[in-house]
Subunit: 330 residues, 2 copies
Amino acid sequence: MIVIDEEHIFREISTKRPQSVSLNGPEGILAQVQKTAINITKKFGIPAFVIADTTWGSCDINESSARTLGTGIHFNIGHTISMDTIGNTVMVDAFDDVSFDSVAVKCAQLLKSGTVAVVTDSQHLHQIQKVVEILQKHGIKTVIGAGKGQLNDGQVFGCEFYPATSLCNDVDSYLFLGQSNFHAAGVALSTGKPTYVLDPYFNEVREISEFAELLRKKATLSIYKAAEAKRFGIVVGLKEGQLSKTVGLKFKKELESLGKEVEMFALTDITNDRLVNIHNVDAFIQVACPRISIDNKFDMPVLSTPQAQGLLRVLRGENLDEYLRLPHWL
Amino acid sequence: MIVIDEEHIFREISTKRPQSVSLNGPEGILAQVQKTAINITKKFGIPAFVIADTTWGSCDINESSARTLGTGIHFNIGHTISMDTIGNTVMVDAFDDVSFDSVAVKCAQLLKSGTVAVVTDSQHLHQIQKVVEILQKHGIKTVIGAGKGQLNDGQVFGCEFYPATSLCNDVDSYLFLGQSNFHAAGVALSTGKPTYVLDPYFNEVREISEFAELLRKKATLSIYKAAEAKRFGIVVGLKEGQLSKTVGLKFKKELESLGKEVEMFALTDITNDRLVNIHNVDAFIQVACPRISIDNKFDMPVLSTPQAQGLLRVLRGENLDEYLRLPHWL
């Protein structure tokens, strides 16, 4: 069950005494966010608005929406990072209280020996030490990569993997705590190492390489398709932490020097539905969020930043290389 | 063909000499907006970003997106209003050069006599006088309602109909210039009078009452369905000109006094896809844009402001009345 750190929220409200507040969190925990909003109104008698727009990460906290709404405090829930606030937004933890005890034992028995690094996402960060202890008790040498920037020790985002990639030469494999194939595939692709999902709900250990390899092949195919395009659209993201205008303009310049035509676009949510409205563009490069390109289906090639770097290499007749073997896909 | 007033855009850029600009316009004219962006870059050598997010009207001009993007001038194209600017956004005309000469004659022959008011949307405003002349030459008494607020003489928005409603007692019917059943149905519902679409592309005159009546029945059914709901969600819109927080909070208070439970939400685009993520809510009231409720399909009742006013009457045991017979659906 997801447990939101309501005490943190209540302390902030007690201190700052706002007239109203806003909250948002990813779709998977929206029911809990709604309950927290109800609890706030009961306790403090102020309106608590749940912003039900997408919030994909700490790059997408809807602070500008909160500003439009004019609430006194804005809480972004469920994206635990190494900082308590981003701008005027208060970052609030939402931890899953499910136990990894059983699946950690199962994993140790499966691996038998070797050195592993444990990584996880925001919801299971508090479990990481306990899993390390279980693994070590069963003879598995276990390490946790150091955090960097917004990332805590052992934490990975969908696009950023420093605590994994920094240990690439020191470990045999990675163990991802949670259910997210999405995050685990990112670890596998950024490190090139075997990566196992320790799923506490299914009490199952699954290797993610095959799924990750499918994503990689799809991403590579898009690069080669895009190489044949004549007209490119470069899409800059309009979410607070996804604006990479300079990167977008740099790609424009480089593609034009290689004989391509380029138009510039901006979008809040980069979806196939929005892109199909755009005319006479053979391929897109979006510099907002790498996962948009790697995880979604589009009617045309839509490259992320590392894929676009790969494309430039292909267009220059260079080797494509391991374009996803990076600690940060931006 | 849609003709964007590029000279207006070029004059603004020549005067203000921005480092970059942004443009946006409704989906129907996006191809032309792209061409204008290309022309700007060719003429001035600066990046021109097409913001490809939705822009439903002068209530939704994406100024906050332009601010995020940091462009020197933001142009909203195709929503002609009585003002040249809204905030820092320059409003640019986009006129359709199709002729109404033939369909106006056809309409005069069909009507034979009587008094009509001519109304239209942004794209055909420049044709209105010519159609009046043709109709009068054929013996049809023709008037144009005075503009009000952002509306020019004879202009209607999807939600605002003053140039139509102000003539309600003086005319037999309304003629809408263009292809938009959406706007024409608004005129029919807000006035209760026969309304004809003069479609210059199909060279066809069509009465819109049946379609409008279907929309009204669907809207009324939603009110009665919502009356049975226990838990309400009130959704405030996050687009610049759609924020009606006070109206939303007023509905909350009134529904609670009638024994309903109410949660507050905020959304940028109010779609079924976003609302189905919200838990334990039986019916929604959205105070952003009335057309969202009247024109779209939702899995649950989603009432607009005039429908919510109707709901309050129903819950108080009063007569529902003609809740859409209003000059402005907000």
